[in-house]
Amino acid sequence: MSIALFDIQTGFGCAITADDLRAEMRRLEIDRALACITPDNMEFDVPFANEMLFTACEHDPALVPCPIVLPNSGADYLPEEAQVEEAMRHGAGAVFIRPAADYWTFAEWVCDRLFKVLESHRLPVLCLERLVPLEQVGGLAQRYPRLPFIVAESSYRQQRILLPLLETFPNVFLSTGNNYIVYKGIEQFVERGFTERLLFGTGFPVSDAMCGITQLMYAEISEEQRQLIGAGNMERLMEGIVR
């Protein structure tokens, strides 16, 4: 059984071009990728970054854009509805938030409008743990229960927090790979019935992409479970987007 892979934790920018990402995907037989602009902390011009991303992903079904969104609470950018419409028009599979870099907070009076619009479209939100701590993910998942939140770049030391996070909030998903290298972590989530909440990721270009692949491919789980984590769960999440 050939396992299809949809890498939900990758991107390009700076020294790594979209073509470099495509070449690595071909080399490792990764079928699709949810792409962000990387490194995420260097690009302060959100419309410029998103335009770069949309242009690079255009006409290539293998690259699914994950643009940055932010509250228009400073009245200096597109209204939230327009941001989400733009993302969906370009085929976004999720959106990326980075509150500190874009100078906003999760206070309801700052960002409620943004998350309500995202929730109405079920457009998943990618939350890198170093930018959105797990407690804040839990808070958001509680406030917006129909909005999927994807936790990525989680540390291998967080299993004691990640398990109850997924148990408590059915709208929270976890990316494997990158720094989530918990010994038998995938197996534990699967045993507890969370197969459909795990999403394959690599962390490329920061990390060697193959580590995420072997982590999934050598996990002690069934081939059906591997297929769901490898690509099926992300495809299902994208099918759920109200476009």
């Binding site: 037989e29 030391r157 299993q159 010994y183 972590g185 060697d208 193959m210 692949i213 050598y218």
Partner: protein
């Protein structure tokens, strides 16, 4: 796709040669690990195709090294040939007798962690290092790339030339420092265990130090073996070089023991 890359992509256990993992652990640590059993570790080794792993106890980071060594011995006896043991050291009280006893029991080498605040060339370790030198054992050091650590390693390399000194987490910091010491000291080897597996680091270690100076260590079950093997299987180097890192170099190091 070369053969080993294809095997990793397909999740096929590597059976063409014996993979030896020179950096493993058993025992409880502060963060949650889903399976603390030795049997579970061996099951994961079977998934990947790892013949043997050399483990120290997580207590290599605490004063309770003797307790840890006994747990390692139990794992070695439960899974002979699959789980091999590193003797964990602590500089006080004199640990030499414990080291000698563990060697008699069939331990494979020594593990020294410096999170205890003691330099790895602390005189309290000298008796154990002398035994390692006599028996040509490998010594695995936790390192984090400081100039101070490299100076200590150079000192040990010169004083105990019959040992094989394995520097864990090579390239985590000061990549050039790791490459320099591996090139300079014939008995120094670079271990690959590193959580984030930065893109290209492993290939740069092989290119800079040569494939025969790099050994595979997973740090399982601190990390998962299934992820750490990926950096080797997926590297843009030849299958022959991958085989040296995963197997040949470790066989040579362990084969020197007397």
């Amino acid at each position: 796709m070369n053969t080993l890359l294809a095997a990793g992509r397909a999740g096929r256990p590597i059976t063409d040669f014996d993979i030896l993992d020179l950096h493993g652990h058993i025992g409880r640590i502060g963060f949650a690990l889903p399976d603390l059993s030795s049997a579970g570790l061996v099951r994961q080794m079977d998934q990947v195709g790892v013949k043997s792993i050399v483990v120290s106890h997580m207590h290599c980071m605490s004063p309770n090294v003797v307790h840890g060594n006994r747990e390692v011995l139990a794992a070695m006896r439960a899974f002979p040939g699959r789980i091999l043991g590193y003797i964990s050291l602590w500089p006080y009280p004199d640990i030499t007798e414990e080291t000698a006893w563990c060697i008699e029991q069939g331990f494979t080498g020594i593990k020294v962690h410096n999170c205890n605040g003691f330099p790895i060339n602390h005189t309290g370790y000298d008796g154990s290092y002398a035994l390692a030198n006599k028996h040509r054992l490998p010594i695995l050091f936790h390192t984090w790339g400081s100039a101070e650590e490299f100076a200590q390693i150079r000192d040990l390399s010169a004083r105990f030339p019959e040992t094989s000194l394995l520097l864990a987490h090579a390239g985590c910091n000061n990549e050039e420092g790791y490459l320099n010491i591996a090139r300079e000291c014939p008995n120094v080897y670079l271990d690959t265990a590193f959580s984030r597996s930065p893109r290209g680091l492993f290939e740069r270690l092989v290119a800079g130090a040569s494939a025969d100076k790099v050994v595979w260590g997973s740090d399982a079950y601190f990390y998962t073996q299934s992820s750490q093997v990926g950096k080797v299987l997926g590297a843009k180097i030849s299958d022959e070089e991958k085989r040296m890192v995963l197997s040949g170099n470790a066989e040579r190091i362990l084969g020197r023991r007397r």
